[in-house]
C-alpha cells in the first residue's frame, strides 16, 4: 500500500461543494438541464418540479439527487437498475392508440396539488388502465419510467466537470459552440497537448468553451492569451458554470486583432498629468488606473510578440488562414496547431493550403464519431436519436523549414537521372515537387516500430 499517497486534498473536495454565488446546472426528472445562480436566502423556483429554499443547497456536495418536499430537500439515494422480467405477454392484443392515459389532465393536476408523489400518481393511472396487464414487462417499464419522470418533483445537481458543461451548452445550442461536442473538445485539448504550465494562444468564437477547457487543464499554472474581435476582453459565457477559483482565471489575458498587430500602435493616452502635477486625488487615481491598464496592454503585446507559445487553438468564424498568417510567427518549434470548424469545406480548403507550406508538418483532418448506448439489461442499443456532428478538426505541427535539406527521393531521382543521362543522353523526368515527404519503402526495422501489433489483452480475446 502506498499509504504515503492517501487522500488529503480538501481543496479538491471543496471544488465539489456548492457555494453561494455559484452558477449551478440543475437536471430535471425529464432530463432537461437548467442553469441557476444560487444566492443566499432566496427561493429557487423550478416551475412544475417544485420550489425550495436556496440555503438547503449551499454547502452540499455536487452530484446528488433531491426530492422537493415542502420547499425543503430530501436526498434520494442511488437506485440500481432493475432487471426486467420478460413475461409471455406481448402487445399482440393491444390496439394502437388504446394505450392512453386513463386519468384526465385535470385529475392529475388535482393529485399533484394534493402533494401525491410521482410514483403514486403513476400507480393510480395504472390501476385505471384496462390493458396494462396485457403489455409486456418492457413496455410497462418504459411507460412507468416516462410517467414517473413526468410527475416527479425534484432535481439533481450536475457536477461542474468540463464534460458536463460542454454537454449542457451543446444540447442547449450547438451553434453557439460552433458544434464543439464534448468528444471534439476533448480531442482538441489532447491534440493541443494542454498541460499545467504550458503557454497557449487561442481564438475562441465558440462561447468560450475552448478557453474554458484550456483553463481547466492549466489549473492556474501557465499562460493563455486569447485574441478577440471586440475592444474589451470577451465574456466567454461557458466559463460561468465551471465556477473557477480566481487563481484559475488569472492566467488568461486577451488582445484583439488590432492590439495583436505588431505593425499597429494602439493609441494610449498618457498617464502623466498634463501640467506635470496631479490636480486632485481623483485625477491621480484615474491616471494610475489608466497607467496600469496601458502598461498591461503593452506587456501582453510584448509577451505575444516574443512568441514561443506551445500551441494555438482556433474555433472561429474568421477565415482560419487569415488567423494563422497572424499568429503562426508567435508559435515555438514543434507547437501544436488545432483548428476546429463545423464545416468540412472550410478545413479542406485550409488543408489544401497548409500541405504545400513547409512550416506546417503533417496536417491531418478528422471528423469525430460519437455514439451513446442504452445499457439496460436485455435492452442494449445505441440511442435512437443522436447528434449529427461535432465538427471537424485539423491538426498540424509548426516546424522550422530548412530549404537546403532535400529528400532521399529527390536524391535517388537525381542519382537515377545522372545515371540515365550518363547511359543515354535522354531527358530525365523532373524530380517530383510533392510537398509531402515520400512514403518509406519497405524496411524491416522501421516497419516494426510503426506497425501496431495486435496483441492487447483485451483485443486478443476478441
Amino acid at each position: 500500500m502506498d499509504v504515503a499517497e492517501g487522500p488529503s486534498s480538501s481543496s479538491v473536495v471543496s471544488e465539489q461543494t456548492i457555494e453561494a454565488g455559484h452558477t449551478l446546472l440543475l437536471k430535471m426528472p425529464t432530463g432537461d438541464v437548467r442553469p441557476h445562480k444560487i444566492e443566499k436566502d432566496t427561493t429557487v423556483n423550478l416551475g412544475k418540479f417544485g420550489s425550495f429554499h436556496a440555503n438547503h443547497l449551499i454547502g452540499q456536495p455536487y452530484g446528488l439527487t433531491y426530492d422537493i418536499v415542502d420547499k425543503s430537500l430530501k436526498v434520494v439515494p442511488p437506485r440500481p437498475i432493475q432487471e426486467v422480467e420478460d413475461t409471455e405477454a406481448t402487445n399482440e392484443l393491444i390496439n394502437d392508440g388504446e394505450f392512453v392515459q386513463p386519468l384526465t389532465s385535470e385529475e392529475i393536476e388535482e393529485l399533484k396539488k394534493q402533494g401525491l408523489p410521482a410514483d403514486e400518481i403513476v400507480k393510480r393511472q395504472i390501476e385505471q388502465h384496462a390493458n396494462y396487464q396485457l403489455k409486456t414487462e418492457y413496455s410497462k417499464e418504459k411507460y412507468k419510467k416516462r410517467k414517473v419522470a413526468k410527475y416527479s418533483k425534484g432535481f439533481s445537481t450536475v457536477i461542474p466537470a468540463l464534460y458536463n458543461v460542454c454537454e449542457y451548452w451543446f444540447n442547449k445550442d450547438a451553434t453557439r459552440l460552433r458544434d464543439i461536442r464534448p468528444d471534439a473538445l476533448s480531442q482538441i485539448l489532447n491534440l493541443a497537448s494542454i498541460r499545467p504550465g504550458g503557454r497557449y494562444l487561442c481564438v475562441d468564437d465558440a462561447s468560450g468553451i475552448v478557453v474554458t477547457g484550456i483553463l481547466q487543464r492549466l489549473a492556474g499554472e501557465g499562460r493563455l492569451i486569447t485574441i478577440c474581435d471586440i475592444e474589451s476582453p470577451p465574456a466567454y459565457p461557458c466559463m460561468v458554470q465551471m465556477n473557477f477559483p480566481k487563481e484559475h482565471t488569472a492566467v488568461i489575458s486577451s488582445l484583439n486583432w488590432a492590439t495583436a498587430d505588431e505593425d499597429y500602435t494602439p493609441i494610449v493616452a498618457s498617464s502623466e498629468p498634463p501640467t506635470g502635477k496631479f490636480k486632485s486625488e481623483g485625477q491621480k487615481s484615474r491616471l494610475n488606473k489608466r497607467k496600469v491598464a496601458s502598461d498591461m496592454l503593452m506587456r501582453h503585446r510584448e509577451e505575444l510578440f516574443a512568441g514561443e507559445f506551445d500551441g494555438l487553438v482556433i474555433a472561429s468564424q474568421y477565415d482560419p488562414w487569415s488567423i494563422l498568417e497572424r499568429l503562426y510567427p508567435y508559435l515555438g518549434g514543434s507547437a501544436s496547431i488545432v483548428v476546429h470548424s463545423p464545416q468540412v469545406q472550410i478545413l479542406s480548403d485550409l488543408h489544401a493550403k497548409l500541405r504545400d507550406l513547409p512550416g506546417y508538418l503533417g496536417p491531418s483532418l478528422t471528423e469525430g464519431f460519437l455514439r451513446r448506448y442504452q445499457v439496460l439489461p436485455g435492452r442494449t442499443h445505441p440511442t435512437m436519436n443522436t447528434s449529427g456532428t461535432g465538427g471537424f478538426i485539423l491538426h498540424a505541427i509548426k516546424v522550422y523549414d530548412d530549404p537546403n535539406a532535400s529528400s532521399v527521393m529527390a536524391h535517388r531521382q537525381k542519382a537515377k537521372k545522372a545515371k540515365l543521362e550518363a547511359e543515354a543522353n535522354a531527358n530525365a523526368a523532373p524530380a517530383t515537387s510533392s510537398a509531402e515527404p515520400e512514403r518509406p519503402v519497405s524496411d524491416e526495422t522501421l516497419a516494426e516500430t510503426t506497425q501496431p501489433i495486435e496483441s492487447s489483452d483485451a483485443a486478443m480475446e476478441s
Binding site: D2, Q60, S334, V375, T380, V399
Partner: protein, 389 residues
C-alpha cells in the same frame, strides 16, 4: 515530464518524424548515430537545435523533423507492446472521468503506456497515476520508460494481477480506468480504491459487447450508478485539390469534333478513291504490282468509303460548331478542394462503459448538511435519510 526547453539537449527524448507513417522515439546520446534510409545523423548534431527543426542528413541525402514529444506523438512512435489506445478514446475517457491537474487516477493494465503518458501530462505534478500491469516483461519495460521520461513523481507502476490481488491503494483515487479482458473481476477492487469522500468515476474499455454486458451487471451490483456506454472514433479525411468537374458540354463538343474529322477523312478517302478509279479507268495500269497485297485492304476501305459516299447528304443540316464547348472551358480550369473519408478507417476500438460512484459517506454528510440548513434556514420539514440500498 519531457524537456520544455527551446533547444534539444543531450539526454532528451525526441520524436523523429520521417514521414507521416514513420516516426521513431530517440534518446539523444552524444556520440551515437542515427542511421536510417532517410539518411545518417549524429545525435550530437541535434544538440542545441531548436525543437521542431527540419534537419538534413550528414550525407545530404534525406532529412528528418525533430519534434518535442507529446503523448500523442509518443503513441504514434512507440514500440507497441499491445494494441494501443487511440486519441479519440483516450481524450474521451479523460474528459468523462474528469481527469485534470491534481487528479488521482488508477489504470489497469498499463499495456503500451499510451493512456499513462496522456494522463501524466494532464494530471501534472500535483496529480498521481497508479498503473498496473499483469504481464511482467511489459511492466518492466513500462517502468523503465516512465523513469526515462521523468514520470517517476507522477506515476507508480505495479506488476500485479489486479483481478486476483486488487489494487495497492484504498479510498484514494478520483477515477479508475480498466483495460482488462475481464473488467468485471476488478470492479469490487476498484470500488475499494475509489475515495469515499466525493463522487468518483470508472471507465471499462472492452472490445466485445458481451464484456460490456457483464461489466454493466457487475457495476450495477457494486452500487455504481449513471451507467452508460459510448463509442468514439475518428474518421480521417482525405483532401484532394482537383479541377472543378468538367461540363458535359465539353465532352459533347469533343465528340462532335471527332465525328466531323472522321467525316472529313472519309470524304477525302472517297475523293481519292474516285480519282484513283478514274486513273485506273484511264488505263494507267503501272504501279499495280507495287501496291500488291496492300491494295486489297485499301480497296475494302475505299468501298466502305464509297458506300457512304452519299453521306454527303447527312440527315439534316451541318454539325454544330465546336465552339459549343468554349463557354465552359474557363470554368474547367478552376481548381477546387474536395474531401472524403479515407477508404479504410478504424471501425471499432472498444466500447467505453462509464459509471459513477456516489458513496454512502457523501449521502450521510449531505443529508446532515441539508438537515442542518433546513432547520437553520426555514425550520421546515427535516429531510429524511432514505436508507441506501
Amino acid at each position: 515530464m519531457w524537456s520544455t526547453a527551446r533547444e534539444i539537449a543531450d539526454g532528451d527524448l525526441v520524436i523523429i518524424w520521417f514521414t507521416r507513417d514513420a516516426l521513431q522515439p530517440l534518446h539523444i546520446t552524444a556520440g551515437k548515430e542515427l542511421n536510417t534510409r532517410f539518411g545518417v545523423y549524429r545525435h550530437s548534431d541535434l544538440v542545441g537545435v531548436p525543437y521542431g527543426s527540419k534537419v538534413g542528413s550528414r550525407n545530404g541525402k534525406g532529412f528528418i523533423h525533430v519534434l518535442r514529444p507529446t503523448p500523442e506523438l509518443w503513441t504514434l512512435a512507440l514500440p507497441h507492446r499491445t494494441q494501443i489506445l487511440y486519441l479519440a478514446d483516450i481524450a474521451f475517457v479523460t474528459s468523462w472521468l474528469d481527469i485534470k491537474p491534481g487528479s488521482r487516477v488508477i489504470e489497469a493494465g498499463t499495456g503500451s503506456g499510451s493512456f499513462s503518458h496522456s494522463t501524466a501530462r494532464t494530471i501534472g505534478p500535483t496529480g498521481h497515476l497508479w498503473s498496473y500491469e499483469f504481464h511482467e516483461a511489459r511492466a518492466s519495460k513500462a517502468r523503465e520508460e516512465f523513469t526515462r521520461h521523468g514520470m517517476d513523481g507522477i506515476v507508480t507502476l505495479n506488476h500485479r494481477n489486479v483481478c486476483k490481488d486488487g489494487f495497492t491503494v484504498e479510498d484514494t483515487v478520483d477515477a479508475v480506468f480498466l483495460d482488462l479482458p475481464a473488467p468485471w473481476e476488478a470492479v469490487q477492487h476498484a470500488k475499494k480504491a475509489l475515495r469515499k469522500d466525493r463522487t468518483t468515476r470508472i471507465c471499462c474499455f472492452s472490445p466485445c459487447m458481451e464484456q460490456v454486458m457483464r461489466t454493466v451487471s457487475a457495476l450495477n451490483d457494486a452500487g455504481f450508478t449513471d451507467i452508460t456506454m459510448f463509442e468514439t472514433l475518428l474518421r480521417p479525411q482525405q483532401v484532394d485539390v482537383l479541377p472543378a468537374p468538367p461540363s458535359v458540354a465539353g465532352a459533347a463538343a469533343q465528340l462532335k469534333r471527332a465525328e466531323a474529322r472522321r467525316e472529313e477523312k472519309r470524304l477525302r478517302q472517297i475523293a481519292q478513291a474516285q480519282r484513283a478509279k478514274r486513273k485506273r479507268d484511264d488505263g494507267d495500269g503501272d504501279g499495280g504490282a507495287e501496291d500488291g497485297g496492300a491494295k486489297g485492304g485499301k480497296r475494302a476501305r475505299t468501298e466502305d468509303a464509297e458506300d457512304s459516299g452519299a453521306a454527303d447528304t447527312p440527315l439534316a443540316g451541318t454539325p454544330a460548331p465546336a465552339a459549343d464547348a468554349a463557354p465552359s472551358a474557363p470554368a474547367e480550369e478552376r481548381k477546387i478542394s474536395v474531401s472524403k473519408a479515407f477508404p479504410e478507417v478504424r471501425g471499432h476500438t472498444s466500447y467505453l462503459t462509464f459509471a459513477v460512484l456516489l458513496p454512502p459517506a457523501v449521502y450521510a454528510a449531505a443529508q446532515g448538511a441539508a438537515e442542518a440548513q433546513s432547520s437553520a434556514a426555514s425550520g421546515a420539514a427535516t429531510p429524511q435519510a432514505d436508507a441506501a440500498a
